[in-house]
Symmetry: none
Subunit: 227 residues, 4 copies
DNA sequence: GATGAATGAGAGTTCATTCAT
DNA sequence: GATGAATGAACTCTCATTCAT
């Protein structure tokens, strides 16, 4: 059979998902090992094989201890996504700094490269998250991450406003972030070879640059506007 | 029992998902009502609330009858996705015909409009599918749909090759389809208001047009300008 | 699903029938109470009325606890048979010791008496086991018990070889054990009154003694007579 | 796995198990094909795999037709046993006639031979019945068969009363029949090689002859009685 | 704090039997 | 008469969660 139980109750979002702020060194470590165990199982066996008991065993901890720190099975899953998102956010911040003085062309090239590199890194976990996790639980996390990325990008675009003639940098940044995200996720799940293809990278650059310049005056024609 | 964990992560395509080809009128109707019931539950209560017994009740049929036709709960879900994909595919074919003689600008405008309209139609079902189902084996169905869309679009682009200077229409079409899909899905899940926003629509047009023309010579400039 | 037909006819011995060696005091007690509950239901309501839930309820335990220790409904039944066989084996050993110096006549009388007494004791459980369980894999358990009994009896016969002229004590012992077993089981199921009938007991004695002496020279007659 | 349904309700014995006396040629044939199908499944796949639907398919008939003639799943099983018992009963009658004028020794030899031959014939069906059928349903059938056999044997013994000094031929016949039955069944299930062993046959003869003569005066001493 | 045995609602699935066609 | 689609009670088994130790 195919007999599978999924989380039984529809999840009621809980304000207080971690029972205790794991302030002590020890508690932190325990929670961390739970998250890692969850990720391992997710990668190795998939979401259907994920159960609180299994996570506890994998983490070398008793179920009781698990519930001391985690109220809820879904919380574990969300924590995995959060850890990943934290790493990604740091990377975005780093990239933003790196691109401070970059030209539009160089900047976009770099952005696309980093997007592809991030998709290639941690493939197994990334795939597992995209493929296995009920989107409903992790959506807010990835949304928040997208918003941070879009904010940073909007800033960067705004700094180049003259050159680009982007009416609403915030909206444009959102579109770019969502676009790159959609394309890399899709490639990760269904066309992994694209992640390594320079042709694909050039295509993404063309996409982003074309978009950013779609409304800009043709280069070489008057300082601003079409005359 | 022999209890069983589903095929870890990778969907094993099952040759015999429907127990009997529902050839008779009556059987067809039954299967159809099961698929509809599944969609209804998915929309109203989400995947976790979906159970074979519940589907049977919702369809006004006994569980036994359900199992006469459907081996498996996930098959039902996949059938919902298939029904939806069939409708979308038909829409794409219709659109392709409509755009036969259209200019690039008009065509892209229309494509974006239709993409947004499709996202707005059936929102709840669409949402439910996106939120819950990648794990269940719906991915291949959506992938096939995307490929069909990309093929049609590639054709359309190829017909306008001179004007556009797109080196690889097939790849470009794939990028556009995936991009629009990603953007409308994201909007559907997290920014539903965008689906009705003309500004957002204009943005998508700019994105697609900018991309298509990114490598084309600036109009009126350079050796191949229109004069 | 994946429904499953039990190993067609031949019991596949399962190495791991008990999920955990019930080492702790508590676990042992739980398993014991499950076995007792199983026996009770078997006696009271028969095999068809036996279900895991019912056993759990009867034992005052949750189904979950049951499955913590027992993989399988039939395992429970087999454990009942094992418990019974253990008791019977002990009785056989006791009897063997008792008969160490006995004459053939006295020994056979005693053996028949004990066989009938054992059939009378625990009648209801014994009946339930005989009526319902050959299919379940209890046969090997009873077979092993029969072999032990036959071994002990063969020894006893061999000690009296001169008097009895039994060519193959082992085969003869097997025949006697199987015979008595068949007769008492048959009586138990269909002629319970015979179990209390001295006439029946005398008949069994005649059967066994006649057999043991069938090939011995008639006393007082022929070349080797006692005279 | 291991999920198996057995006949759900405890069987309420029904006076009218065959819905209609299958007087017509056609009906008889149908019932016969159902019984044969049942036997085939029992042999091939075991009792757990036996279901009314399966029997109907195996017999090339619709379930509805099955229920037109057979009220009950257990009835099918019982009919298989009945067919077998009918054949055995005929064999007993034949044997009785054959032994009309036989000496005790020759008769017993013949009886043992036939008992072993019957156990060897139809081994697969015989095994299936012994091993697979819930004894509770078929017990009465085999009991009736045993009684018929015992009656015939009692008659035969009574005819040789003078020579044998058997006080209660009826009881003795019962003991012999049950004994041979128990021994051959046991051999069939657990020591099939014994069925072909002449040594085993001799042993059974010794058993029966020894029993019949256990209380008889030693041969060659006085015309009658010990005096 | 930590443990892990215990819980029990609820999941997927089967199959003897009926009854409209 | 024959059919086989439909029924639904009942089964085995899981797993998120609790709580006595």
């Amino acid at each position: 059979m195919t007999r599978v139980h999924r989380s039984r109750r529809v999840r009621v979002p809980q304000a207080q998902e971690l029972r205790k702020r794991p302030s002590q060194e020890r508690s932190r470590a325990l929670v961390e090992s739970l998250v890692e165990a969850t990720a391992r199982i997710l990668i190795r066996d998939g979401y259907d094989a994920l159960s609180t008991n299994r996570v506890a065993v994998e983490a070398g901890v008793s179920v009781g201890s698990l519930y001391q720190y985690v109220t809820n099975k879904d919380t574990l899953v969300r924590m995995v996504a959060e850890r990943w998102a934290e790493g990604a956010a740091a990377e975005f911040v780093r990239l933003r700094a790196e691109l401070a003085g970059a030209t539009v062309d160089a900047g976009v090239r770099r952005i696309v490269d980093v997007a592809l590199a991030m998709a290639r890194a941690d493939v197994r976990l990334h795939r597992a998250m995209l493929e296995q996790l009920p989107r409903i639980g992790v959506l807010p996390i990835f949304d928040a991450l997208g918003r941070r990325a879009a904010d940073l990008l909007a800033e960067w675009i705004a700094e180049r406003r003259d050159e680009l003639a982007v009416p609403d940098p915030s909206l444009t940044a959102h579109v770019i972030v969502t676009t790159l995200d959609g394309l890399t996720d899709h490639a990760l799940l269904l066309r992994p070879e694209l992640l390594d293809s320079p042709r694909f990278a050039r295509e993404l650059e063309a996409l982003v640059l074309g978009y950013l310049r779609a409304r800009a005056p043709a280069p070489g024609v008057g300082p601003r506007g079409r005359g």
